[in-house]
């Protein structure tokens, strides 16, 4: 399609091509300067690769900060290797040989996408491009007018070009598009006027209403799902997920066929119901306690960060003031040195200045040591508080879980009792005739049933224990990570500050040195 008559070899994007393209971006007089600087692909924001006979896109992974990419008028057949360009806002792939829209999922910031003059027959794989404002897909192979509804998901879409597609031959083409994309301002580069809009509304009113309802329902469902997900996440951070209900209980009995069979016995059924009720209520208590504890932890953490921030800010102010004072002083001093003619005097003043720089270094370092001490104190205190909170939490969880175990034990005893009674009845052959066959089977042999019950009892106990240990381990994990982060942050901070001071002092020294050198040269 866009093949030039004098086309040479088809190309793949390589470093050399890119390098050249970047250089061409600069105005001529600055090109030299740019070369001295060296080009860092990571910092390039715009790239023009038009008319280069490119067949395959490649080597784009380094352009992390690219926002605009032009690949028009090539012979590209497949959209690929663009996944890393997540900051892309503007992408031009017009006049190529693309057949399928794909590989754009990660480009969530894309606002302007041109696929004009390609061989695309379906609009698809673009669901993540929620920022899309301008979309050009004219002169392609789109045939089904209905497919335009796909574009309804782009709430920011204002300009659309579809001209030159087979679907445009439909007599209702314009009205259909306008009706289905009510926020569209420009269609095929022409302003959508009110008359058209009204006509479209009139014609497709019912259809659109239906569509809107469907979408609203879908949206509501999605939102509900998301809300649920969010709540679950919240519960997870509190380590009590799925405890607000019968989840654990149901889980305990999920694979326990014997109990399920036995539940057909009227007494067992009742017992199970009572057990379930109590168990769930304990779980719920635990759940609520967990949420409360979570708030406590959060409060402690934010409190810690708040105090940390306060200390840091005060320290920063102090340091800033010291530096400011020094700089004002040094300015005066340097002026003085400049104005002194006597070489000896200059030398002595310089020495004085040097001394002062060293002193400044001393002062700043002392300040930092003080700060580090304060921070350490804060962190230690924080660690203690967190430890206290965590141990209380674990203690209490254990308490709740013991309640659960007691309930289980109690239930088990009761169940055994009932079973033994039933066995006795069964032994006397006085069993109810309407009992299901499974139950009758079970009640045949004492050893079998006792074994079965014991096994499922121990399984359930283990499950309860496991839930407890889950909570414990994730709590400890959380504690560890919080503390590690606090320590690490402090270490990083300390290191940064020391580095900063050293660098600053070095800088001052160097400045002084340069001046000396200049003097000597004169």
């Amino acid at each position: 399609m866009s093949q030039l008559p004098n086309s040479i070899e088809p190309n793949v994007i390589d470093d050399e091509m890119v390098q050249k393209a970047i250089e061409e971006e600069y105005p001529e007089d600055l090109r030299e300067l740019a070369k001295i600087d060296g080009i860092n692909f990571k910092e390039v924001t715009e790239l023009h690769l038009s008319f280069r006979n490119i067949l395959q896109i490649d080597n784009m992974w380094q352009f992390e900060s690219l926002t605009k990419l032009q690949l028009d008028n090539n012979i590209i057949e497949k959209i690929e290797a663009l996944e890393t360009l997540v900051h892309l806002v503007w992408l031009d792939l017009s006049f190529n040989n693309i057949e399928v829209i794909e590989g754009l999922d990660t480009l969530v910031k894309l606002q302007d996408l041109s696929l004009y003059s390609n061989r695309i027959s379906k609009m698809e794989h673009m669901d993540t491009l929620q920022e899309l404002q301008v979309f050009s897909i004219g002169k392609n192979n789109l045939t089904v007018l209905e497919d335009v509804t796909y574009l309804r998901r782009f709430k920011n879409l204002r300009s659309l070009n579809l001209s030159g597609n087979p679907l445009c031959h439909d007599e209702h083409y314009k009205l259909f598009v306008v009706a289905h994309l009510p926020d569209l301002l420009y269609l095929d580069f022409k302003l959508v006027n009110d008359t058209t809009r009204e006509a479209a509304d009139f014609k497709y009113h019912d259809r659109i209403e239906e569509l809107e309802q469907e979408e609203a329902e879908a949206l509501a469902q999605l939102e509900e799902k998301q809300a649920k997900q969010k709540e679950l996440e919240y519960h997870q951070t509190a380590f009590v997920e799925h405890l607000n209900g019968s989840f654990l209980f149901d889980h305990m009995f999920a694979e326990d066929t014997e109990t399920a069979t036995l539940a057909d016995l009227p007494e067992v059924g009742e017992l199970l119901q009572a057990y379930r009720k109590e168990f769930v209520s304990v779980c719920e208590n635990l759940f609520n306690f967990g949420l409360k504890e979570y708030e406590k932890r959060e409060f402690e953490v934010s409190n810690f960060h708040g105090r940390l921030q306060e200390v840091l800010t005060t320290n920063q102010q102090e340091g800033k003031k010291i530096i400011l004072d020094f700089e004002n002083e040094s300015k005066r001093r340097l002026d003085e040195i400049d104005n002194t003619r006597n070489q000896d005097l200059v030398a002595s003043k310089r020495a004085e200045y040097k001394e002062e720089i060293l002193q400044l270094s001393e002062v700043l370092m002392t300040l930092e040591v003080q700060l580090a001490d304060q921070m350490e104190e804060l962190i230690t205190e924080f660690a203690e508080n967190i430890a206290a909170i965590v141990s209380t939490f674990i203690e209490n969880v254990k308490g709740f879980m013991t309640q659960c175990q007691d309930l289980e034990n109690h239930h088990h005893e009761k169940l055994l009792e009932i079973c033994i009674t039933m066995l006795e009845i069964s032994a006397r052959n006085e069993l109810d005739e309407d009992l299901p066959a499974g139950v009758r089977e079970l009640l045949k042999d004492k050893t079998t049933i006792v074994n079965a019950l014991n096994t499922s009892h121990s399984i359930r106990l283990r499950m309860i224990y496991k839930r407890e240990s889950d909570i414990r381990s994730s709590t400890y994990r959380w504690q560890r990570s919080v503390m590690e982060k606090a320590f690490q942050d402090e270490i990083d901070r300390n290191r940064d500050r020391v580095k900063e001071i050293v660098q600053y002092i070095d800088n001052l020294m160097e400045e002084l040195h340069t001046m000396e050198m200049l003097d000597l040269l004169e």
Partner: protein, 800 residues
């Protein structure tokens, strides 16, 4: 003593009547006068016998039957009262009104408002009437107060305009700035706290001492203390959402708490419904009084039937009581539950004009503690001045420290002017809407080269300029809410270089700029070390230095110093940027190879901005000059604006406007429209709808003759004046010639000026005479023409 039998009035609608000159009444009167009821000084000068009561309606002069009855009741009450409480002052029941005899009368609000004079009783009655009319539960109070209160002496009071706002927030601040315990040793902290506490205590002590001192000053023993009779207004809580019972001093209109120590005691209270005598102990002033007028133990009531105060009466009850009374008058009399008759006072009317004028002559002066407050009615002063507060350093009002003036309705929107007498700095404050959003302007003079501080309504300005401080060397501008986060721009000027200007070139008034410094707030969209906090353009040194905002947790700011290459260098060589052209310190980024391209771009950008900045500074300077010019013009020609809702004034205004523009037109117009020039002549012939030809001709001739006479008269008068003036001049000249030698130079000079004046006068007269002679025939012809066209005469004269 017939007059005394006439109806007399206590308060507004309430009425209490005098009996014929009972001794009791006499007593009340003497008591009152003895007890120094304060009368404002201008009232003293006022001759009360000059007031005219003849125009008051007959209700003011006569007592109705019911009123007579009430007087009887009052007399009874009084007798019982004096019997039961022989030690107490007599009640202020039924004084005479202005139609009665002097002294000690209670004037009706009608008269008080008319003359705008009165004593505390008069004032209270007026105020209380107004409050009752507006639906408040108000009462007049007869009691005792301190000298300051009674004599309208506010010289010990702080002027309300000078009251400092409550200092509560300050304390809040203090607790907020508490230093962090982590940062300082506890010992230091404690020491500091101790010190602070000490100083605070010391200050407090000092304050207390001062207070005591002033207190002592205030309480110069007043020999009359507790004996000074005063009247004021009591407003009870409940009605019209009044949350708390309070007093109003009728002289100042200030409200006071009932606990105020200036009020020393209450004899009685009354309003249009009843008269209550206070039975509570007033040894502690009014502090402990309980104002539940329904409590008969505390408040003895005169008309027991209407015992309860109004607020306790439900409408239903009221209705019930009315029929009772009308149906069975007799029974009521026995109950002594006589109701108060309708007031005889005409409804109080205050015209909008009087309301606006407020004080008599629209002017009032109040002396406060070391301050004098003057007030004027709006439009009284031509410059719109309505209020002036002068603050003095001493209590004798001699050494003015500060003068504050308030203005109203000024077209230049000036609302207040503060003059600091010590620094000679004047500050003008403007309401929103002034040109270029000027809000305040401080200056020593309106001349351009002096110091100026101008504040602006920054919300209304595109550039967000909030304040501009200018003096000879510097101009600092403060901005608020700008998109580019700029908040301060400081320009330092060099010495004005005297340039030789070629003829025709415009004079360059701007000063050379040495340095421009700009400070920016943090723009959170940028990383801190790319967000410039301060940039300084050292224009003479061709250097630009940038300081960036501090990165989080860092204490050193990144910096860039850029040196501009000389022009020749730039053009001559390929390289446009060399590493030597800048010094960079980047906090937290150990030495990286400097990238030249971004620096080059930065420098380009900054150079461009520097140019724009220079322009901007020049514009600012021009703006200052412009504002000063405008202010000067405004001050030289002060205009007052009139609201379109102020119909009276705006019409007047319109008239004045027309008058100045088209005096002559209006004059003629009035003649034409306002007066019928034919009227006197038509009357002569007994004008009816129709007139005969003969009559018409006569009218015409009369009219013309009249004009002729007048014109001739006018000429004659001018002629006579002219001749007289000439004669006098000749005489004088003669006298001068004769005595010339004896005259001193001074007298001679005097003569000469008078001589030239006389000559001028004669010259004018001559001119007028001439003009009159020329114009007279024209006027005659014009009238003739007009007569011909007059519709009344036209049909007879048209073909004449």
């Amino acid at each position: 003593m017939d007059v005394l039998e006439e109806k007399e009035e206590e308060e507004q609608r309430e009425e209490l009547k005098a009996l014929d000159s009972s001794d009791n009444l006499q007593d009340v009167e003497t008591e009152v006068s003895e007890e120094q009821v304060f009368v404002p000084s201008d009232v003293l000068d006022f001759d009360w016998s000059s007031i005219d009561t003849s125009q008051l309606p007959s209700l003011y002069h006569t007592n109705s039957l019911k009123e007579e009855k009430l007087l009887l009741v009052a007399e009874h009450f009084l007798q019982q009262y004096s019997h039961l409480c022989p030690d107490r002052k007599l009640l202020f029941l039924h004084p005479v009104n202005e139609c009665g005899l002097q002294p000690s009368k209670l004037y009706s609000p009608t008269t008080i408002l008319k003359y705008q004079r009165g004593n505390c009783f008069d004032f209270s009655v007026v105020l209380c009437s107004l409050l009752l009319g507006a639906g408040y539960d108000a009462y007049c109070v007869h009691g005792y107060a301190t000298r300051q209160m009674c004599s309208l002496d506010e010289t010990l009071e702080l002027c309300p305009l000078l009251m400092k706002p409550q200092e509560v927030p300050k304390y809040g601040m203090k607790s907020r700035i508490k230093p962090l315990p982590d940062q300082q040793s506890m010992f230091e902290l404690q020491q500091e706290a101790k010190k602070k506490a000490e100083t605070e205590a010391a200050q407090k002590n000092k304050g207390r001492e001062e207070e005591q001192v002033t207190e002592v000053g205030k309480l110069k023993r007043d020999p009359w203390s507790g004996l000074r009779v005063h009247a004021w207004v009591l407003v009870l809580s409940g009605k019209r959402e009044v949350p708390e019972t309070f007093f109003i001093n009728p002289f100042t209109g200030n409200s006071h708490s009932t606990m105020d120590e200036h009020f020393l005691g209450i004899e009685s209270v009354w309003n249009h419904r009843n008269y209550w005598v206070n039975m509570q102990d007033c040894r502690n002033g009014c502090k402990d009084l309980i104002f539940d007028l329904g409590d008969t133990l505390r408040w003895e009531v005169m008309l027991s039937g209407s015992n309860r105060s109004l607020q306790q009466l439900s409408d239903a009850e009221k209705e019930k009581r009315f029929p009772d009374r009308t149906m069975d008058d007799m029974q009521e009399k026995e109950d002594m539950s006589l109701d108060m008759p309708q007031s005889w006072v005409a409804p109080i009317q205050i015209s909008p004009r009087e309301f606006e004028t407020r004080c008599s002559q629209g002017r009032k002066v109040t002396l406060y503690k070391q301050a004098k407050l003057e007030k004027w009615a709006p439009y009284l002063n031509e410059n719109g001045l309505v209020k002036r507060l002068t603050i003095y350093a001493d209590s004798d009002y001699t050494e003015a420290v500060e003068v504050r003036e308030w203005f109203k309705n000024r077209e230049d929107l000036l609302v207040m002017r503060e003059v600091n007498k010590q620094t000679q700095v004047t500050t003008d404050y403007f309401s929103p809407g002034h040109l270029l959003s000027l809000k305040a302007h401080s200056y020593k003079s309106l001349e351009p080269k002096s110091e100026h501080v101008m504040e602006f309504y920054h919300e209304a300005r595109v550039d967000g300029l909030q304040k501009r401080v200018e003096d000879v060397k510097e101009m600092t501008e403060y901005f608020v809410g700008r998109d580019d986060f700029l908040h301060v721009r400081q320009t330092v000027f060099g010495k004005r270089v005297k340039k030789v200007h070629l003829a025709g070139t415009s004079i360059d008034s701007s000063r050379p700029i040495v340095q421009i410094k700009e400070c920016f707030h943090r723009n959170l969209e940028k990383p801190a070390d790319e967000d410039v906090a301060e940039r300084i353009f050292l224009i003479t040194e061709e250097t630009i230095s940038l300081t960036y905002h501090l990165k989080d947790k860092y204490i050193t700011a990144s910096k860039k110093d850029l040196f501009k290459a000389a022009e020749d260098d730039r053009r001559g060589r390929e390289t446009v940027m060399t590493p030597e052209m800048c010094i960079i310190y980047e906090a937290g980024c150990p030495e990286k190879a400097k990238k030249l391209l971004p620096l080059y771009e930065l420098l380009q950008e900054l150079t461009k901005e520097e140019k724009q900045l220079k322009l901007q500074v020049q514009q600012s300077e021009a703006e200052v000059l412009n504002i000063l010019e405008i202010r000067k013009n405004e001050e030289n020609d002060i205009k007052l604006s009139v609201s379109m809702y102020n119909t009276a004034r705006s019409e007047m205004r319109a008239h004045q406007y027309e008058a100045t523009n088209t005096i002559e037109d209006e004059f003629l117009g009035q003649k034409e429209q306002g007066q019928d020039y034919l009227a006197p002549f038509l009357i002569q012939i007994g004008y009816r709808e129709k007139m005969t030809k003969g009559q018409a001709l006569r009218v015409r001739d009369n009219c013309l003759t009249d004009l002729k006479h007048r014109l001739i008269n006018k000429v004659n008068i001018i002629q006579a004046r002219f001749e007289k003036a000439v004669e006098e001049l000749q005489k004088k000249e003669q006298w001068f010639q004769e005595k010339r030698d004896q005259l001193s130079t001074e007298e001679e000079g005097d003569f000469l000026t008078r001589y030239s004046e006389a000559m001028f006068h004669i010259h004018i007269l001559a001119l007028r005479l001439n003009r009159e002679k020329q114009v007279a025939p024209q006027k005659y012809l014009a009238l003739e023409e007009k007569l011909r066209k007059d519709p009344r005469l036209a049909e007879h004269l048209g073909h004449a």
